[in-house]
């Protein structure tokens, strides 16, 4: 919303201090995004008449323009736009001019012929967006004068403010001026002229059918209209507000809306069918062509303004239709000023995706009782260009029962003080909010606060608390620190999660954060089931799957890096996955994914072991149960009881192919939500022996069907209490060993009370071999 400095200073006796106003606007919650100068003229650009234009055989893209600026000399300019005719008046940037974009205009030759400056487009001068050709000025424009002077440009300072949802009034210059005047403690004056009704009775009838959507609809007939240009000051204020001048009627309509915040619509009374209005909901599938020439398909939720013959002539509160538009021959208008229920407007705006200045105001909630003042102001301003204006008797003011009634709120000074942390008396509250239109009456301990009709956002005591704080000044309230009686800290789960991260970082893994949205192709490529929770309105078509596993994202990260010549990268991710569920919400949980490019399954198992050892996690490696997408003979489910807490192994070569990954990828995926619940065991002290230890190396030929884990378990059992350490240190698969491989273990034996004898060691060795033999393992 553009607040015009000169305009608000017409309404309130504010200081001519841009910095102070800008700071104060932000300080009362009307955040200033930028302060701009609009209508500033570019020095050195003067008006000139085109004498003639000429093509040159060696310069196809430009032509020669000969200009007369009244100094008696013919000036020559090369120009790339061809829209001017001899006799046209154009803005001419003379050599030495610095354009708003910083370009210095110099005398430059083309095919050896110098060009004295440049002809300007409207956009180049900051006069709008038109860059289709050179700006052709009014034929009556004098030549040789600054173009700004010729155009009657007035420099305006504009504050571009961010209007919050709870401040519908701040869409008008009046609302902003009132708020500022209160803070600056200066008088504020509403332009509230008396409406002089002088013409014979003439009315446009009003039939409000949809009373719950339209609470007030006023019409007044104004004749004696002469379509003419608007005064310069009005044109420049409209321009400063981002609106183009059309003609005096349209301009006054816009100007009144910008000032009072009340949208209105002027219909050509001659073309108004049946001479009246009917406000009703659209029929499903009903269409109408709006002012912008677009045919709109409507639903029964859209509110229409129709003429008395039931022909749609506007979408209520949003945009008028083409059929009753003001034309140059318009003599009599029917001026509509109405109040529409804001939520309905908002929903139509969203459905039709049709945002207008009027809808922006109507969807936030207008002042139902500001209408009369805005009509008077409309007439007052139109009289400036239509001296013969006649306002007719017979204004129609149709109201429905849904018209808002004034809100009165009981405000307790004690509550205000308790929430703001500073003491406020009823009198102080009154002095802060009365200047912005709130009525205050004492009612026992409380104040009975009447909310002004332009502040529909205020319905609760807390809303008044905010107004008090806003006008007192947040910064003046001071700063205190609450006394927390509880200790700060991370929960045990959060501490454990940090530990998992630390371990993985220590192991050299980098943390990735892939996007949580996948496509069906991702599920397919990763071998994941197609069942997933989906987005109804994805940002990118097809990117609608909420991930059920971290694997696809991590594989994409590996593929991306491999394609950028970074093989062998390893990543981990801690993130949520969202499997389907029949509960209120999907079965969301936190997952941990680790991928190691260029590594084989055992490396992932090592990572699992490291984590499990540090975190007190335990699980069975079940190689008989490998989910799709993982290497079927090199992966395992990590099972606790009947539940899977994760998977470990390698990515299936088909999946690698699908992602274009040429390295093996070891993978570990864990249900972190579940595992972080596990309380790590606190390691208990074991006395170290003072006696020497003895090592036994045992290498077995073991059938493929017998796992190393089984042999290890058997050895552990056989070695008994003397065993202090057991490790697999070699695996050897010889080509002629058939369906078996060699596994070599090292056992360290030690007693707490004596040095072990050879006989002790031999006994353990024999027992271990015998145990392994029972499993089908043969000593090598």
């Amino acid at each position: 919303m553009k607040v015009v400095h000169s305009w608000i200073r017409d309404l309130a006796a504010l200081p001519d201090d841009v910095e102070a106003i800008s700071f104060t606007l932000s300080d009362i919650g009307l955040a200033v995004e930028s302060v701009d100068k609009v209508g500033a003229t570019v020095a050195g650009v003067i008006t000139a008449r085109v004498i003639k234009t000429e093509r040159h055989p060696d310069a196809a893209k430009v032509h020669r323009v000969f200009l007369d600026n009244g100094d008696g000399t013919e000036h020559h300019v090369w120009c790339g736009a061809f829209n001017m005719q001899p006799g046209d008046i154009i803005p001419w940037a003379t050599p030495g001019t610095v354009m708003p974009d910083g370009r210095l205009i110099e005398t430059k030759p083309i095919v050896g012929i110098p060009s004295e400056g440049m002809c300007c487009s409207a956009r180049e001068l900051g006069l709008g967006d038109d860059h289709g050709g050179i700006f052709i000025m009014d034929p009556s424009t004098p030549i040789g004068v600054p173009y700004g002077q010729a155009l009657g440009l007035v420099e305006e300072i504009v504050y571009d403010i961010d209007v919050l949802r709870n401040r519908p009034d701040a869409y008008g210059q009046v609302g902003v001026a009132r708020d500022l005047a209160a803070r600056f403690n200066v008088p504020f004056t509403l332009n509230n002229p008396t409406l002089v009704v002088s013409g014979p009775s003439k009315s446009a009838s009003v039939d409000i059918v949809a009373g719950d959507r339209c609470a007030r609809f006023t019409t007044i007939i104004i004749s004696g209209i002469r379509i003419a240009p608007s005064p310069d000051w009005m044109v420049s204020r409209l321009a400063a507000s981002g609106m183009r001048s059309i003609n005096n009627v349209v301009d006054v309509s816009n100007y009144v809306m910008l000032e009072t915040n009340q949208p209105n619509h002027a219909y050509d009374f001659a073309t108004l069918g049946g001479g009246g209005f009917k406000i009703r909901l659209a029929a499903d599938g009903e269409t109408m062509i709006t002012l912008d020439g677009v045919e709109r398909a409507l639903t029964t939720d859209d509110l229409l303004i129709c003429d008395a013959n039931d022909r749609p002539i506007g979408i209520a509160g949003i945009m008028g239709g083409q059929n009753t538009e003001i034309s140059d021959s318009t003599n009599t208008i029917a001026l509509e000023t109405a109040w529409f229920e804001p939520v309905g407007i908002m929903q139509s705006v969203a459905r039709l995706n049709l945002h207008t200045e009027a809808s922006a105001r109507n969807e936030r909630g207008m002042d139902p009782f500001g209408i009369d003042q805005s009509i008077a102001r409309f007439v007052e301003l139109l009289c400036l260009t239509c001296p013969d204006l006649v306002v007719h008797e017979g204004m129609v003011d149709a109201r429905s029962s849904s018209i808002p009634t004034p809100t009165v709120i009981a405000v307790r000074p004690t509550s205000v003080s308790a929430l703001l942390g500073a003491s406020f008396t009823a009198e102080q509250i009154r002095s802060l909010i009365e200047p912005i239109g709130f009525g205050c009456a004492t009612s026992g301990e409380s104040l009975a606060v009447t909310v002004p009709s332009w502040r529909p956002d205020c319905t609760l005591e807390i809303d008044i608390v905010e107004e008090v704080a806003r006008h007192f000044g947040y910064d003046k309230l001071g700063k205190t620190v609450p006394k927390s009686t509880q200790p700060g800290g991370l929960s045990v789960v959060q501490q454990r999660r940090r530990r998992v991260r630390e371990i993985l970082l220590g192991l050299g893994f980098n943390e990735a954060m892939p996007h949580p949205f996948l496509t069906d192709g991702d599920l397919q490529n990763s071998g994941l089931p197609g069942e997933a929770v989906r987005l109804m309105n994805p940002l990118v078509v097809g990117d609608d799957v909420l991930r059920t596993s971290l694997r696809p994202g991590l594989l994409k990260a590996i593929a991306f890096n491999e394609s950028h010549r970074r093989s062998g990268v390893s990543f981990f991710e801690v993130g949520h996955v969202y499997p389907t569920s029949t509960d209120v919400l999907p079965a969301e949980y936190e997952s941990l994914g680790v991928v190691i490019a260029g590594a084989e399954a055992p490396q992932a198992v090592s990572v699992w072991r490291e984590l499990a050892g540090s975190m007190g996690w335990g699980a069975r490696l079940d190689q008989s149960n490998v989910p799709a997408g993982l290497h079927p003979t090199r992966s395992a489910t990590l099972s606790v009881g009947k539940d899977a807490v994760g998977f470990v192994g390698e990515i299936h070569p088909d999946v690698l192919d699908a992602y274009g990954i040429t390295q093996r990828v070891a993978v570990l995926e864990l249900n972190l939500s579940r595992l972080l619940e596990v309380e790590p065991k606190v390691s208990q002290w074991k006395a170290t022996s003072r006696y020497p230890s003895s090592d036994i190396d045992l290498a077995f030929t073991v059938p493929t069907s017998v796992t190393a884990e089984k042999i290890e378990k058997s050895l552990r059992q056989s070695a008994g209490a003397l065993l202090v350490d057991l490790a697999l240190f070699d695996v050897y698969r010889s080509k002629d060993a058939g369906d078996s491989r060699s596994l070599a273990f090292r056992l360290r034996l030690q007693a707490h009370d004596r040095t072990l004898t050879d006989a002790d060691v031999a006994a353990v060795r024999d027992k271990c071999i015998a145990g392994a033999n029972k499993l089908g393992a043969q000593l090598r």
């Binding site: 932000s26 009362i28 919650g29 919050l164 939520v343 908002m346 929903q347 969807e363 308790a418 929430l419 703001l420 942390g421 807390i462 809303d463 905010e466 704080a469 806003r470 947040y474 910064d475 309230l477 700063k479 205190t480 620190v481 609450p482 927390s484 509880q486 200790p487 700060g488 800290g489 991370l490 929960s491 959060q494 940090r498 991260r501 970082l505 220590g506 980098n510 943390e511 990735a512 954060m513 996007h515 949580p516 949205f517 929770v533 987005l535 109804m536 940002l539 909420l546 994409k556 991306f560 890096n561 950028h564 970074r566 390893s570 990543f571 981990f572 949520h576 209120v584 919400l585 969301e588």
Partner: protein, 333 residues
């Protein structure tokens, strides 16, 4: 006998002086002081001497000779071992700048780094950390936060709707605020909590906007909590997180779930202002949705983006870079 001893001693001392390696010293140790050394052999000949005086004199001379030889030998050993160690040390010389890129510690994502730094600062200020689901019900994400179905502020949130349950009932949370409600429902006040987490907005990404990003939110609910407590807490955070030269201010703003609402800005020691986040007193309707009586309890909430903290700290030009998982990006931090 004495002359034999003297000449043996002289010969021994000469051979020690001639030794140039520790190996030679080791051999000489045996040859000169061992059982079969000339001096040892002379000792066995002591018995053949006739007079006690002769024996005594020769014995004393022998002992002196052996001690002297041993001393010379040890001195020579020390000298040679020192020399040998010198040679070894010289030979082992390494250029420590001959450095290979050995695998090192991994790098945490910069958002995680910022996240944990923020958590640590708030923990120091007496806050605990709460979490909640990323897929939320419309009720927790909007309705409980004073945004009933037709509330205009909903259009400020570009919401991703999730096809789960009744149409429109499930969303990707657009902010971390639903965790406020879950905390109020599950934790009896006083509540001093922060709620970091991933949030989602259905908007086109650019250098400063992401559809998936991270927020941290704070919630304090206790008896007698005031707007000045909010301002003071923001100030304490500002100084703890950014440094002692930084200050903060609140500007009026609007959020449906807080009132009075404010934006909070941080002022750098150089005097620049940067807009950080939104905050306000928890709206009575929100307290009620969380099962608390607004006449008994009051509180404040604040929130801001974590990604932006990471972006500003490391000068990342384009936030989208943070999510490419390009190892060349990750390794930088």
């Amino acid at each position: 006998m004495i002359s034999e001893i003297t000449s043996a001693r002289t010969a021994a001392e000469q051979s020690i002086a001639a030794a140039s390696t520790l190996d030679e010293i080791r051999i000489l140790d045996t040859d000169l002081l061992g059982k079969k050394s000339p001096l040892a052999l002379l000792k066995t000949g002591l018995g053949k001497l006739i007079t006690v005086d002769e024996k005594k004199a020769a014995g004393q001379a022998l002992n002196e000779a052996m001690l002297a030889v041993e001393k010379v030998l040890n001195a020579r050993r020390v000298l040679l071992s020192r020399a040998e160690r010198e040679v070894q040390l010289a030979a082992e010389a390494l250029d420590l700048t001959e450095h290979f890129n050995a695998p090192g510690r991994g790098k945490a994502h910069i958002v995680t780094q910022a996240w944990q730094r923020l958590e640590d600062v708030f923990v120091g200020l007496g806050f605990q950390v709460a979490e909640g689901p990323e897929v939320e019900t419309d009720w927790y994400n909007f309705e409980a936060l004073n945004m009933p179905p037709s509330h205009p502020a909903r259009s400020m949130h570009d919401t991703f709707y999730v096809d789960h349950g009744q149409p429109g009932s499930t969303v990707l949370r657009t902010h971390t605020s639903p965790v406020q409600i879950r905390v109020m429902q599950n934790v009896a006040p006083p509540i001093y909590m922060i709620m970091p987490g991933r949030v989602f907005r259905n908007e086109t990404t650019d250098a400063t906007h992401l559809a998936v990003f991270h927020q941290i939110e704070g919630l304090v609910i206790d008896r007698g909590i005031t707007l000045t407590d909010l301002a003071g807490t923001i100030e304490a955070f500002t100084q703890a997180f950014f440094g002692p030269g930084f200050t903060s201010r609140l500007r009026p703003s609007y959020f449906p779930f807080t009132e009075p609402s404010a934006e909070f800005d941080i002022r750098t020691p150089k005097g620049d202002w940067l807009e950080l986040g939104g905050c306000g007193m928890v709206h009575p309707n929100v307290l009620r949705a969380g099962g608390l009586d607004p006449e008994e309890w009051s509180g404040f909430a604040f929130g801001f983006g974590i990604d932006r903290m990471a972006k500003e700290r490391h000068g990342v030009g384009d936030v989208r870079e943070m999510y490419t998982n390009d190892i060349r990006f990750i390794e930088q931090f």
